[in-house]
């Protein structure tokens, strides 16, 4: 019933992965689950903690959009129909959670990409539709600041 705020008409879009949350109001975000016993942060829903094995002590948390590039690879060969090159990045988010995604708005050149550099999560409509023609909201990383 409410119109989405923010730059995306996100409510018309489906999330690319279940841990990308599109609230009825407000901005989309990535969701983690944090163990209340040991503090481990997991991407996606889970019941039990694989770090300390505690049960039913995981609470959903909103992950930060700010993070640091941990490692990357520049992918030059992928499956048919997938545009290359692109930068596959592993990012540690502030406050916990490690997420994989494409790093955009950088040259796909190892000299131009610095491990440890600050990056942020941005949300955009994915350039792919499913078989029924549904559109998806996806996330990317881009250099910050």
């Amino acid at each position: 019933m409410s119109e989405p705020s923010g730059s995306n008409s996100a409510s018309a879009l489906l999330p690319v992965v279940p841990f990308l949350k599109i609230p009825e109001t407000g901005d989309p975000y990535l969701e983690g689950h944090k163990c209340q016993d040991c503090g481990a942060v997991f991407i996606g829903e889970r019941d039990n903690c694989s770090s300390c094995a505690s049960r039913d002590h995981l609470k959903p948390v909103r992950l930060s959009n700010d993070g640091e590039l941990y490692v990357f690879s520049i992918v030059h060969r992928s499956f048919p129909g997938i545009e290359v090159p692109y930068v596959s990045a592993v990012v540690d988010l502030e406050g916990g959670g490690t997420v994989k995604g494409n790093l955009i708005n950088v040259e796909p050149d190892p000299e131009k990409i610095k491990m440890g550099m600050p990056v942020e999560v941005v949300y955009q409509t994915a350039p792919r539709k499913d078989a029924e023609g549904n559109e998806y909201l996806t996330y990317y990383f881009q250099p910050r600041g």
Binding site: R77, S78, N102
Partner: protein
């Protein structure tokens, strides 16, 4: 508990055999290992069979259908690229436990060409190339970049692994390839996933390998001068690490397996004369120098620069040519590297013999993850 020995072990020359079947490939290696042991399928008390591609299809029983359905128990194993090592280890455990005296372990795989990993979901849209890459060359590129980040390891140093292993394979008639690949050829080959070029990715091949394991009691009864002693057999899975749901961790499970293997064998890395480790990508080999205690992790780049892990070096690694050049038929790899080390310990490795080899170590990683390590001793 009984000590366990390898009485017979062999592998086929790796290659592409699309016209044959998985059971036939497995049967070929099984018969070769039985011949090497001087025994018959009727002497075997159990079969442990490793295969990944047809994990639900009773490959072990179909191998027996090719060579003799004696009614023995068959265990089919799948454990990613640690599949062959897992099958071997199941046989080792059964003898160790005193259940059997002589068993057969077979590893076999028939592979397609092309990229592994990165399969899309059943619902929604494929995320490959949208949320990074799940292809194996990328996963291991990222693992290598972690080593670069920590220790400054360079693209050139990773590439040198491939130069070395391709060079080694020129002396191994059972390797898929016997070709030299100079450094500039490796570095200028098609970039697959930086820093892994095409020549830094293991070769998808078909292959099989098999071993006959025997108890000490039975070995004494039969008598053999070529038996190899299994001093350690270890399997680990990856313990929790903060990134390992996003970024598979092949390091911690290898470090833990190595520590347990050295303890079980009562030897240290300084006692090991040759190593066959899991060079599924050139980047991976560099990680495992430190993980297996062959040197300090920060020295891995220097070790490859100075030829310490080349044939004739301080600790030769992958003198078979490794997965990079010998080839990597997933389910067979773990027994093929046991064949390689055993052949050196027997003094039968011909031109590529590591002289005076007394102890050797084999290592495989199945992503997801499983690490299998065996330490073998010349008798």
């Amino acid at each position: 508990m009984s000590d366990v020995y390898i009485l017979g072990v062999d592998m086929i020359k790796f290659g592409r055999f699309p016209e044959t079947s998985v059971p036939k490939l497995g049967a070929t290696a099984a018969l070769m290992a039985l011949d090497d042991a001087g025994l018959n399928i009727k002497d075997m008390e159990a079969l442990y069979c490793g295969n990944l591609g047809q994990a639900g299809a009773m490959v072990g029983q179909r191998v027996l259908a090719e060579i003799g359905q004696t009614g023995i128990p068959v265990v089919n194993c799948a454990n990613a690229c640690a599949t062959g090592a897992t099958a071997f280890r199941e046989g080792w455990m059964a003898i160790k436990a005193g259940v059997y005296d002589v068993v057969l372990a077979v590893g076999v795989e028939q592979m397609g060409k092309g990229l592994l990993g990165g399969g899309g979901p059943k619902k929604g849209i494929p995320t490959e190339g949208l949320l990074g890459s799940g292809t194996m060359p990328c996963v291991f590129a990222e693992a290598g970049m972690e080593h670069s980040r920590k220790y400054g390891t360079s693209f050139e140093q990773f590439a040198k692994v491939s130069v070395k292993n391709h060079h080694h394979s020129t002396l191994n008639p059972k390797a898929m390839y016997q070709i030299e690949t100079p450094l500039d050829t490796v570095m200028n080959a098609e970039m697959i996933s930086y820093p892994n070029t095409k020549l830094m990715c293991s070769v998808n091949v078909d292959g099989s390998a098999a071993a006959v394991l025997i108890s000490e009691r039975k070995l004494k009864e039969i008598g053999s001068k070529r038996a190899v002693k299994v001093r350690a057999s270890i399997l680990t899975s990856d313990p929790y690490q903060e990134r390992n749901l996003t970024m598979p961790d092949v390091n911690t499970c290898t470090q833990q397996a190595a520590a347990k293997a050295y303890e079980m064998a009562g030897v240290g890395p300084e006692d090991i004369d040759l190593v066959e480790l899991h060079d599924c990508f050139a980047t991976a080999e560099i990680l495992h120098y430190g993980n297996l205690g062959l040197g300090k992790p920060e020295d891995a780049g220097r070790m490859i620069d100075e030829g310490e892990t080349a044939h004739g070096g301080r600790i030769p690694v992958n003198v078979s040519g490794g997965l990079l050049s010998k080839g990597h038929p997933l389910g067979a790899t773990g027994i093929a590297n046991i064949y390689e080390v055993s052949t050196h310990l027997r003094g039968e490795a011909g031109k590529r013999q590591v002289e005076g080899a007394t102890f050797g170590l084999t290592h495989v990683i199945g992503l997801g993850s499983a690490c299998g390590i065996h330490i073998l001793e010349k008798v």
